[in-house]
Amino acid sequence: MKINLRQDNGLTTATLDETRLDASVALEFKAAMEDIISSGNNQLILDISQLSFMDSSSLGAMVAVLKQIGGTGKMVILGASGTVLELFKLTRMDRIFTLTNDMETAKQYF
């Protein structure tokens, strides 16, 4: 699981350097994100623009991450497209997560 971190003025951008997120890596993804958040990165842009496939177990992991960041922090998802975006819509997660397609808009949420 490769996640690249960049910190800038209290805002963290976590770029997921993977093309698939499925049941075989969902737990690993969740654990990696939980580490990132618990080490103080709670103003977070999660860039998933490289992702071309995501299944429902990874969606569950994504929700767990969102719940962890909870009331104290904020997370914006950047770059969901194609089947990944369709999964967000199918499961109405587009109403739960803040989704955007460009970095400038993403930054304005903070």
Binding site: S57, L59, G60, T83, R92
Partner: protein, 402 residues
């Protein structure tokens, strides 16, 4: 250790035997490579002390033969050599020897060489024993899983020809047992309650949750908020999803599920259903000759407290089909065009089989879209539930009225 001493010179054998005996090992003798080979077949030896040059079959030749053969235990080989030089040592190792002792032999060297042999033999025996235990455990788990898979398969409903409905289904778990399930049952009020659900993940615990839900969903009238009466058909699906969401969150399991749950009024062929994050169902309209996904979205069950659900209503007609399936199919490429069975490609695949009846359709999916190899190595469970509509059933209530 039990040691085989192999040398064509009788005096040499005598010396080696007395050393090995002094060191507390049991032993047998062989007069050349061939003689040793037949003795290795008949008895168990932990190690051999073997001369290099012998008639019939020499030391390196015997080494090679031993390494090519599958003995139950590892046989440690020490080659005795008066030959010096790196090439000889390398040839010996290449043939499969573990160690060397120089001739003329002395007790101290043999003692140390056999100590090394003992370490390896103990380690090898230990590994073999653990492997055997693992194999037994593995076979046991595999057998249990296969039994569980057969129980799971038996818990799925028989295809149904009842009232205004025919059903057919296809179910293929990823590894023996799966987190997908579906069921349907007829009510005394002329309705058919049905659902298809997919528990996140495809582990054993997902399968157990899927089985326990399958057993309880039909019976837990509490989730329906009362009996399936005809005046509540629009209310029940959304209420059921809301109640199940609450129940799953209370259980605090790591799993959540996507589901399509509905009720068919067999007197009118109206379908009342709730869509909870399950893939968009396909609707085959016989009169229009079209088969298209019904694009309605919804929250999965067990992710968010207070998620809201709504009941959809669909009017079906004679010859129409409703196809409900889990997302597992979309992790596979079709045999027909080598493209992922998702989106437009899935729609095209359905379009080419829209003239088939429910049973034929389920067979076409299993046999034409996917290869036998794919079905044996599915990355996720596959399930399809196909409901085919005939003329609405006459309402006995109407008959009494007239």
């Amino acid at each position: 250790m039990n040691i085989l001493i192999v040398d064509d010179a009788r005096d040499m054998r005598f010396i080696l035997c007395s050393i090995v005996k002094k060191l507390g090992h049991s032993f047998a003798e062989a007069i050349d490579g061939e003689d040793a080979w037949s003795k290795l077949q008949a008895n168990h030896f932990d190690a051999i002390l073997c001369d290099w040059k012998m008639p019939m079959l020499d030391g390196p030749g015997l080494c090679r033969r031993i390494r090519e053969h599958e003995f139950i235990n590892y046989i440690y080989i020490i080659l005795l050599t008066g030959l010096n030089g790196k090439k000889n040592i390398l040839d010996g190792i290449n043939a499969g020897a573990d160690g060397f002792a120089s001739k003329p032999v002395d007790l101290e060297e043999i003692r140390i060489r056999l100590m090394a042999a003992q370490r390896v033999v103990t380690l090898e025996n230990d590994i073999a024993e653990k492997n055997k235990a693992l194999q037994v455990a593995h076979d046991h788990i595999k057998k249990d899983l296969q039994a569980a898979a057969s129980t799971q398969l038996k818990s799925l409903p028989e295809p149904l020809t009842e009232g205004s409905i025919n059903t057919a289904w296809l179910y293929k778990p990823a590894v023996f047992i799966g987190g997908d399930t579906f069921d349907y049952y007829k009510t005394q009020t002329g309705c058919l309650v049905f659902y298809s659900l997919d528990i996140s993940g495809h582990s054993i615990s997902a399968a157990m949750l899927s089985m326990s839900l399958q057993v309880s969903l039909g019976l837990k009238r509490g989730l329906y908020g009362g009996g399936v009466s005809r005046d509540r058909l629009e209310e029940i699906p959304a209420l059921f999803a809301t109640n199940l969401n609450k129940r799953l969150l209370e259980q605090d399991s790591d799993h959540y599920l996507t589901m399509l749950f509905g009720i068919i009024d067999m007197y009118t062929n109206k379908v009342y259903f709730v869509q909870a994050g399950h893939p968009h169902p396909y609707i085959n309209r016989h009169s229009k000759n079209t088969i298209l996904p019904f694009e309605v979205n919804g929250f999965p069950i067990g992710l968010f407290d207070g998620a809201e659900y709504e009941t959809q209503v669909l009017q079906m007609d004679r010859g129409d089909q409703l196809i409900i399936y889990s997302d597992g199919i979309s992790e596979n490429k079709s045999m027909l065009n080598n493209e992922v069975l998702y989106g437009d490609n899935l729609t095209q695949h359905f379009d080419s089989i829209k003239h088939l009846n429910a049973k034929q359709m389920s067979e076409a999916i299993a046999n034409q879209w996917l290869s036998a190899k794919q079905i044996n190595e599915l990355p996720d469970d596959i399930s399809f539930l196909i409901i085919e509509f005939k003329d609405p059933q006459p309402n006995p209530q109407d008959e009494t009225d007239t």
